[in-house]
Symmetry: C2
Subunit: 330 residues, 2 copies
């Protein structure tokens, strides 16, 4: 018996077959291309149906399906809000997948939740009851494991740490994505570097050649490696923000581990000791002494492993045996 984990991203979708022991047996990735709305749903249901068939033929049938989505998974309705996929304001993904899954149970959760579940299952959070996955990429989010359970909140939007405020007074520019994300996401790093370059009239470094609005976080890290002063200022600032935000998580949740992931960790992995030092200034001292800061063991695969773990937990969960998955309003 095998598990199917599906990781839907903003530009691609990955389908992975796992053994129940957590071994990744097969992974196929499809670019979404110009697909939107139902076309994305169709790609997912058709590929799922094909995988169910092929696993059955191979004598290793799919026992349970888990899905990671880039946005909010509404646990009460089975619908999904995914801001980067057109037409997915309230997409009935559970309903669609159950049509092809038949009696195989399906469980959907956010990529935040799946990332920490992936690390819990096969990565750096193995054995933890309290751990947090802090994703820093284009945006910022947190997947929170508290006492062995994923923290969901009242409307499935817990972990929206990109909205953490810390730079008073409030400025209107925070309104689109939140204060922490504005300053310390991948997009924030690029934006800050542009601002610092503009403030330094004598600056003639390598970032000065980049056209306004087209700086990337990668450009900043590359310039940092060459000792560029604007890049150093930008990155130092971010280390301060990441450290303080991580300390706030430690004070509130008293976790065993904070796991840094997403596209920026990655290149910012080397700064983990400085981030920890910064956090130690701010956080509850006993909690800080007993937390470890690590990066993702699974990198870009954290969410697909988490989808596999979701499938495993749901298969085992006697409260929701196959065939008893119900949809709100049905």
């Amino acid at each position: 018996m095998s598990l199917l984990g599906i990781d839907l991203g903003g530009t691609k979708v990955a389908f992975a077959i796992f053994s129940k022991e957590g071994e990744l047996l097969q992974k196929d990735t499809y670019l979404l291309g110009k697909r939107r709305g139902n076309a994305v749903g169709n790609l997912m249901t058709e590929t799922t149906a094909a995988l169910i068939d092929s696993q059955k033929s191979a004598g290793d049938p799919v026992e349970s399906i888990g899905v990671s989505v880039p946005g909010i998974s509404h646990s009460k309705t089975g619908t999904v809000w995914a801001p980067n996929i057109k037409g997915w304001e309230d997409y009935p993904l559970l309903e669609e997948l159950l049509k092809v899954a038949s009696f195989i149970p399906v469980k959907i959760d956010s990529d935040r939740a799946c990332s920490i579940l992936g690390e819990l299952w096969q990565g750096n959070a193995r054995g933890c009851l309290d751990a947090i996955f802090l994703t820093v990429g284009t945006g910022i989010g947190a997947g929170i494991l508290a006492n062995g359970e994923i923290l969901r909140g009242n409307m499935d939007i817990a972990g929206a740490i990109g909205w953490m405020g810390f730079s008073r007074p409030y400025q209107e520019k925070y309104s689109a994505c939140g204060c922490f994300e504005y300053y310390a996401s991948g997009a924030g790093i690029a934006r800050n570097a542009e601002i610092y370059r503009g403030l330094d009239k004598d600056y003639r470094g390598e970032l000065s050649a980049i056209e306004t609005g087209s700086m990337s976080a990668q450009d900043v890290f590359a310039a940092y490696d060459n000792g560029d002063k604007v890049a150093i200022k930008t990155v130092s600032q971010c280390i301060g923000y990441w450290g303080m935000a991580a300390a706030n998580l430690v004070s509130l949740f008293n976790p065993e581990k904070i796991i840094f992931g997403g596209g920026i960790f990655g290149p910012a992995t080397r700064f983990l000791p400085e981030i920890k030092s910064e956090a130690e200034k701010w956080g509850q001292p006993v909690s800080m002494k007993h937390v470890s800061f690590e990066t993702s063991a699974l990198l870009g695969d954290a969410a697909v492993f988490g989808a596999g773990c979701l499938a495993l937990r749901n298969a085992k969960d006697k409260r929701y045996p196959p065939g008893r998955v119900s949809l709100a309003g049905k």
Copy 2:
């Protein structure tokens, strides 16, 4: 059958008898006076033994005991760290109470946890699965209910929101109690008012008569009522901090309610609408739209009701039937 809830504070201890339906039948409060260490423990065990006897004689025996403590309740060892009670660095409270409780189960938790449990049982969090009690008094802490369970963390120190950082760069003055508590606790309000009064050379208001180091938050609120400019500046600043911190809780936990309590709410209750407005600037917009900000329904009794609720939950909890409560190392 009745429940015994005990609320130990820094200066007094309250013993309350509740019906299982949550009715407060009797409450006795004892000042700690000069008691420290074992003497505090003895007061608790002797009074507990006497109440067990008298309830038995009255035909309404105590079925379960819950205790709220002002500090950290170590769930694995049954010991308590209470910074305001001398000799309670690691006090074996569970062991002591079990000696007199015999086969009656005993459960201990922090006053943070008990405050939200009290509101859940008989206050403003009734029916909630996700709610937070933000205590603002001499210090600041948070009792967090997530998916119906108290958030404990890895070492029982979750909810230490007084350590939340938000005013970069770090300053050494935050090291004793944390940044948020430094600025926005009762002690912080008094300290800020002294600072603002010192900065304004022309100030001749009512707070100028108070000796340095002896300002209280009560003085500041009284001066606020008379339109004093230093008091207004101090309180406005605090509204900003409380609003931003509450928004951070909303973004991270997506709760149904934030309940403000402690000595400052109290006099700051009137500012709840301004605190909400401030929070709305910062927090995750959907979560902010669906959260309600309220003050404690139980006021100074929140923790003792929470101790009663702890007793009730423990009595019902089949994982820990009477007589099977075990102590680490025994």
